[in-house]
Amino acid sequence: MHAPHPGDNWPRLGLGLGLRHVHVEHILKHWPAVDWFEVISENFMFSAGRPRQVLRQVAERYPLVMHGVSMSIGSSDPLDFRYLQALKALADEIQPKWISDHLCWTGIQGKHTHDLLPLPLTDETLQHVAERIRIVQAVLERPLVLENPSSYLSYTQSSWTEPAFLAELVVQTGCRLLFDVNNCYVSCYNAGQDPQDYLKALPHEAIVQLHLAGHQHCGSHIIDTHDRPVAAAVWQLFQQVWRRSPAAAILLEWDGNIPDFDTCLAELHKAKGFMQGQQVNHWAAADVGRVDAAEAVSTPVDFMVAPLMAEARQMAMTEQERQDA
């Protein structure tokens, strides 16, 4: 059961940013020069309000990619077809270049943890996930793009490495990969593995997009916080991956303590230098030797909650009330 794949004409999108509530006003006012935006699908799928109206305007000006966090492709629950239909409806409306989600599960028994939980990488899981990717691709009528999550544990059952597992899914289903460079670094550190071994098994030719983000080093483990600049070690890994996947679209995720739009853009554009071979200067990097005692929130999601408070106002209905006020 293979979905009709639109061939291998994956567009080269260049350098993009995640579309965030706090930047919307700036974007609608200035239409800043950024190659493309990635949008969190769930922020818009279920909205009939301003988010969807804003998205339609942004879609007129920039290429978009839809990035989801709730598909739960590895769950032992049945696939949620209402979710998939809503995803497809949004895609029909805004015509994204592709649709991505994560190699993970997010909940069972109808519940959602809103976390990207790791899967046991076994033969059985592989068949289960592959079958579901085929179904999803048939509904969405396009290949799914799958991202490696950041993980903080590995299971005793796992018999596959993550990159080999991803490579096999690509072979079996024709899906493509969103390789999150930071997640690779974080997961490898937390599992006591070498990112270089990960890269060796990674099917670079299947990568259509790269993610970059900041993390928090806690000494005994690293947390994927998306709340600060990209670490030097991650830039270095990025430089390596880029050489082998030079058509991949690049995206910076900044989801916690989100600075102004131009600061995000400046961080993203650091990638340009590294793409041209500029050396990553470890000793000048802000993160060197920094170990935080207090753990920040991993994969923060509160940026998805609309900052509504500044928006709702007490209003006067009549002229009399206006004068009284």
Binding site: F46, S47, H112, P120, M304, M309, A310, R313, M317, T318
Partner: protein, 273 residues
């Protein structure tokens, strides 16, 4: 789809996910140590329970941040510790069942009402009424943000004030509260630290027009008339007739004045009939 049962999960996967999810949601007591060691690998830096604990800590911290975003005024009123206690109890009792975080706080006001700390006290405590009302107020506003509205269809105009098809627009909620929660909310939004308000019955219309949310104070009679219009799919004239007994004959002279205000504020649309 092999044998039509492609989406049936392997048993081992289902069991592992059952273990992980209950470890996160902590509905029962924490997971058995033997199970943790069976499922999760140790590394040079952390033992299996420490690896799991990273997920357990993050689960509540992450959703708590979202609840704080959805109930900013309530979080302000309660202070961060008390808000965290209530929110975590709520999340434990009602884990999210929606793929979107936009529904996370949907049952919070009801939960607070049903689990009032003064349930066994002789007298209900005023601050708890205030807390329940403020939670309902914030959630109602929050829901209107994403709800279907009349932006595309357009709002009824003053020229249509006698039109028999005038109806309330879909993105409008009528609420009555025991405290002036709208004023409290506004003060928090403006960066103030308002004092706990005195009890006062208030009637509000929460409305989204042109993608902007507005909080309108209503008089009791206005609230009664609008509620009637919201309930039945009848005309404004029918709503007036139905409420005239209760509101008195003066309603007939007041209603046209009110109606102009409501039309200007975007409360009304033209229905289909």
């Amino acid at each position: 789809m092999r044998d039509g049962r492609a989406d049936v999960a392997p048993l081992a996967l289902a069991q592992l996910q059952q273990f992980m999810q209950s470890a996160l949601l902590q509905q029962a007591e924490g997971p058995d140590h033997g199970l943790i060691e069976r499922y999760i690998a140790a590394t040079g830096l952390l033992d299996p329970a420490q690896h799991l604990a990273i997920y357990q800590r993050a689960y509540f911290a992450r959703l708590l941040q979202c609840m704080q975003g959805q109930f900013k005024a309530l979080a302000h009123a309660l202070g961060s510790e008390l808000f965290r206690d209530f929110a975590c109890e709520y999340l434990r009792a009602h884990p999210s069942c929606s793929p979107t975080l936009a529904h996370l706080g949907a049952g919070f006001a009801d939960y607070l009402q049903q689990n009032r700390p003064d349930a066994h006290a002789a007298q209900p405590e005023a601050w708890i009424d205030f807390m329940v009302d403020l939670a309902d107020f914030e959630w109602t506003l929050y829901s209107l943000f994403d709800a279907p509205g009349a932006e595309e269809q357009g709002y009824a105009t003053l020229a249509q004030q006698d039109h028999p098809a005038l109806r309330l627009q879909p993105c409008l909620a009528l609420r009555q509260y025991r405290f002036p929660v709208g004023a409290y909310y506004q003060q928090v939004a403006d960066g103030h630290d308002p004092v706990f308000p005195l009890a006062q019955q208030v009637y509000l219309a929460l409305v989204r027009t042109h993608y902007r949310l507005g909080i309108f104070s209503l008089q009791p009679a206005q609230y009664a008339l609008l509620s009637r219009l919201a309930q039945a799919d009848g005309t404004l004239a029918q709503a007036l007739a139905a409420t005239a007994d209760q509101l008195g004959e003066a309603i007939h002279s007041l209603a046209p004045i009110w109606l102009r205000g409501w039309l200007q504020a975007g409360f009304l649309v033209l229905g289909h009939d």
